[in-house]
Symmetry: C2
Subunit: 265 residues, 2 copies
DNA sequence: CGTATATTTGATATACATCAAAACGCGTGG
DNA sequence: CCACGCGTTTTGATGTATATCAAATATACG
């Protein structure tokens, strides 16, 4: 499982596509000032809270927002902090399938069958806004703008999930960890927060579980990234990561999937 | 990358969940008669076409429904046949991230940014229904039932994508291929079609790309499944697979992730 | 402070990728 | 109808990335 898949992909249908996918956003893009960066999400949240009064709730690391199997009733929007979405199977497998930051929504998975399908767990002190789904739908009929917001969020989630799948399937471990950090930075950027220093608040085991590798591999990958000066750790505690240049992470990912210095041309 | 992740998962938060996830559906469930199986989707499609006149279109293998980068305008519902969704990255990686069967929708990814983010390509002669997104929204305000249908479809897609991610991250290659076949059978079942014989119409390379492994590994996995009598090939052509018992595939997956015969209690 | 939990790092094992070659199937054109 | 060529599939031999096992720090927590 590695970049070579891209190479092996020859037998796939030919593509004539030119434009980049969502993964592309911010590959080497000049970064906006922080206020602007978070504007879109801030606007969305103020619009939202202006139209339908949310049930605001402050939660702490470990708090469970909803659990798989529980009756579906609410959707939630993240106002601050972050959450993990954990999928479970009957055969006992457990995986973190998604991380949710400011502006993301939780609970869409519950709509289809009337039951949540995952667990949603706070990873830090966070503020979450709850909305009764029925109420939200009713409000949408009045204010079509709300519907747009909702659909955009679902659409974005679908696109993001596909990008995750793609990372897992086409990137070697080191690149996957680099990409993971880059995505984290992007999420912070969109939230209008500092992006040069991130507190992971996840164990290596959790990160590994999310990325489809073991905790040891995560640890080694991080050590390697640090050795290459792409990241550095806070003096105390290896869970704070300083990222001087997020673009350098992108470049690293590129290098991983194009091992040959490419003398073709 | 394998089942061991479940084992390594100890440091994750403890769960008290009882109910199965969406992956669970039909693990050893008694199968419904075929007419009933496809009822839900059939109902959805008739409801849909009753409320808003779709632009019906018959397409053939290889036909492109939309391409990444193209301006978003329509959503599509699959009435028959099937499609692949292909994700592309700026760095040239290409991956089949999803397969769409009868009752599934195409194009949700385009809502968020006004551009499709993937390619959608027919894999067989198929009938697809196009709906102008604007028109669909307008109709939704009149007929809330439509909104429900739409949201259910998106919700289901989100849940399904997460299950895919989980397969890739937690199952060894053989189990992943078995699970892939099982999912295919499920999709056919939901469409109300025969499930004991499936025409893949995908090359091993495409399957491998979708599952995050090489074509050789797919081939070996299939050979192994055939050797264990879980599947068999049509006398002519290795792309038709007979699946006498889909539950046996589930059992095989279980065995793969629980290599130790479990002498514990 | 001392104990439990995380993290790092090394040594080794293994599942899967890679490379290679043969067999098969499929369409085309003689 | 058969011969040819090309793409697909299978299968084997070998290499390698990552898992597994293990032990030594480091860090958090009571």
């Amino acid at each position: 499982m590695l970049g070579s898949n891209a190479g092996t992909a020859a037998p796939l249908q030919p593509f004539t596509v030119a434009l980049p996918t969502s993964t592309a956003s911010a590959y080497g893009m000049p970064s906006m000032p922080r206020q602007q960066a978070g504007r879109k999400i801030a606007d969305m949240l103020t619009l939202l809270s202006g139209q339908v009064a949310p049930q605001r709730r402050v939660v702490h690391a470990g708090d469970v927002i909803y659990q798989a199997g529980e009756r579906f009733s609410h959707l939630y929007a993240v106002n601050s902090g972050f959450f993990k979405i954990v999928n479970l199977t009957v055969d006992g497998r457990v995986q973190v399938v998604s991380l949710k930051f400011r502006g993301d929504w939780l609970g869409f998975d519950g709509i289809a069958d009337g039951c949540y399908v995952c667990d949603a767990v706070a990873m830090d002190t966070s503020e979450i806004w709850g909305f009764r789904y029925e109420g939200l739908l009713a409000a949408c009929v009045e204010k079509p703008m709300l519907l747009t917001v909702l659909h955009e969020a679902m659409s974005r989630e679908i696109a993001h999930d596909r990008d995750s799948l793609m990372s897992v399937c086409t990137l070697p471990a080191d690149a996957r960890v680099a990409e993971f950090l880059r995505q984290w930075v992007l999420s912070l950027e969109n939230s209008g927060m500092r992006t040069d220093e991130i507190k992971l608040r996840m164990t290596r085991a959790e990160i590994g579980n999310y990325l489809g590798m073991t905790l040891e591999t995560v640890s080694r990958a991080l050590s390697r990234l640090a050795r290459e000066k792409l990241i550095s750790f806070a003096q105390k505690g290896r869970r704070e990561v300083r990222i001087p240049d997020a673009n350098a992470l992108s470049a690293f990912v590129q290098r991983c999937i194009a091992p040959a210095p490419s003398l073709m041309q």
